[in-house]
């Protein structure tokens, strides 16, 4: 197929435009499970769960995406990310430490522990570690 299989991808955070360019595929984790988006996807709005984001264009780019939502149109994907970081920018030691912290909090299960919060931070730490190892 000589047809162009690329679509526009835009990732915006409150402080900057994180990524803007062409991509042939983008993968990330949503509340409904992990998805991969190609061109001509049916228009959908999805909510993001912490996970690894990979952008496939000429080269592969990996980032840890923590929260936000994505608007998928046939020829354009816009990800409004509250928190996102390139794999290269992540401090692995810190991510491991926060993973352990979150695991301990969940295991001990004190009454005053905010379970939802502990789980989110565990998910975030795992996403960070996964995106480094990718």
């Amino acid at each position: 197929m000589a047809e162009d299989r690329n679509f526009d991808l835009e990732i915006i955070t409150p402080d900057r435009v994180f990524y803007k360019g062409q991509a042939s595929m983008v993968e990330f984790n949503t509340t409904e499970g992990e998805i991969g988006v190609y061109k001509d996807h049916i228009p959908t709005t999805v909510i993001i769960k912490p996970g690894v984001l990979t952008i496939t264009s000429e080269e592969k780019k990996v980032a840890a995406l923590h929260s936000g939502f994505a608007t998928i149109l046939q020829d354009k994907v816009t990800i409004l990310a509250e928190i996102i970081e390139w794999a290269a920018e992540i401090d692995e030691e810190r991510a491991k430490a926060s993973k352990e912290r979150a695991e301990n909090r969940i295991r001990q299960g004190h009454e005053e522990t905010d379970m939802a919060r502990a789980e989110t931070s565990l998910l975030r730490a795992m996403a960070r570690i996964k995106s480094i190892r990718y």
């Binding site: 835009e10 915006i12 955070t13 409150p14 402080d15 900057r16 435009v17 949503t30 509340t31 409904e32 049916i42 228009p43 959908t44 709005t45 999805v46 909510i47 929260s67 936000g68 939502f69 608007t71 149109l73 046939q74 816009t78 409004l80 509250e82």
Partner: protein, 285 residues
């Protein structure tokens, strides 16, 4: 006529005031540049967010969700963004006027204050203040906005407030700042939004609309508050720059006037002295 010494002293005092206002103007010019840049960088995110939410509302016309329906409570929460410091012209009082001279009844209003100046005024005029986040306006972060939004949404969810407003200063450009009051909750579809081709494509939601709204609206409100804070900071510095600029030129004017008065007084004193000497000399001869 004031004595020469008095005029001189007054001129000295005006001069040192001018030095202060000049320095403040320079400082706020630099701060304005930084704040303006930050505010502009948020615009992208904010615009995309606004389009998405308005698009959702337009497409999913009759979804029923607590965030979209007015609740029974007549209480109104106003998130009010002012500055911690004064000497910024009408910047703070313009935001205050939005609330005190609007359609709000005093007993219905609850204030969530960001910025000491606004908080102090509202406390003095006996408005109910439910939260004070004044420290964070010096350098607002997205995290801060999220916390303010969470508090506001909790109050809304508990039914303690029926509507949430945001009072801030819109940064149109360096010289024009518009005090603005917008309604955050219940979310209303903006009638003025032009429907683009993009908006007409039917959109799927995963999860379903109601759930998606539940998750997106808090993010939307957070981004509005964050944008509001950044624009307000830019406006504050812009307003201060203007105020200090006119203060400096007013001081210049007064100094000119006093210099003229001083020179006249000095000339007058010399003339008088001469007249006296001549008169004395004539008397002797």
């Amino acid at each position: 006529m004031a004595s020469m010494r008095d005029i001189k002293r007054r001129r000295g005092s005006v001069q040192s005031t001018q030095q202060i206002t000049k320095a403040m103007k320079l400082v706020s010019t630099v701060k304005l540049q930084k704040a303006k840049q930050r505010a502009e960088e948020t615009t992208n995110y904010f615009d995309a967010m606004y389009r998405t939410v308005q698009g959702m509302l337009a497409k999913s016309g009759n979804i029923n969700h607590p965030y979209l329906n007015p609740s029974n409570s007549s209480k109104k929460l106003v998130i009010m963004i002012t500055s911690n410091k004064g000497l910024a012209g009408g910047y703070n009082s313009n935001v205050i006027k939005l609330i005190t001279q609007g359609d709000f009844k005093r007993e219905d209003v609850m204030i969530s204050a960001v910025g000491k100046k606004g908080k102090e005024y509202m406390a003095r005029t006996e408005y109910q203040i439910v939260a004070d986040h004044s420290d964070l306006i010096d350098y607002p972060l997205y995290e801060n906005a999220r916390q303010i939004a969470k508090e506001a949404l909790d109050l809304f969810a508990k039914g303690e407030v029926g509507e949430i407003y945001l009072a801030y200063t819109h940064f149109k450009n360096t010289v024009s700042h518009i005090p603005t009051l917008i309604k955050l909750l219940p979310v209303e579809a903006d009638q003025n939004v032009q429907q683009t081709e993009e908006d007409k494509i039917p959109m799927n939601f995963e999860p379903k609309e109601e759930e998606a709204l539940q998750l997106i609206i808090p993010t939307y409100i957070t981004s509005l508050i964050y944008g509001g804070m950044l624009e307000s900071v830019a406006s504050e510095n812009g307003a201060r720059m203007q105020a200090m600029d006119s203060a400096t030129s007013n001081a210049e004017e007064i100094i000119d006037k006093l210099t003229l008065q001083y020179n006249r007084a000095r000339q007058g004193a010399i003339t008088q002295e001469l007249t006296e000497i001549i008169a004395g000399a004539q008397a002797i001869s």
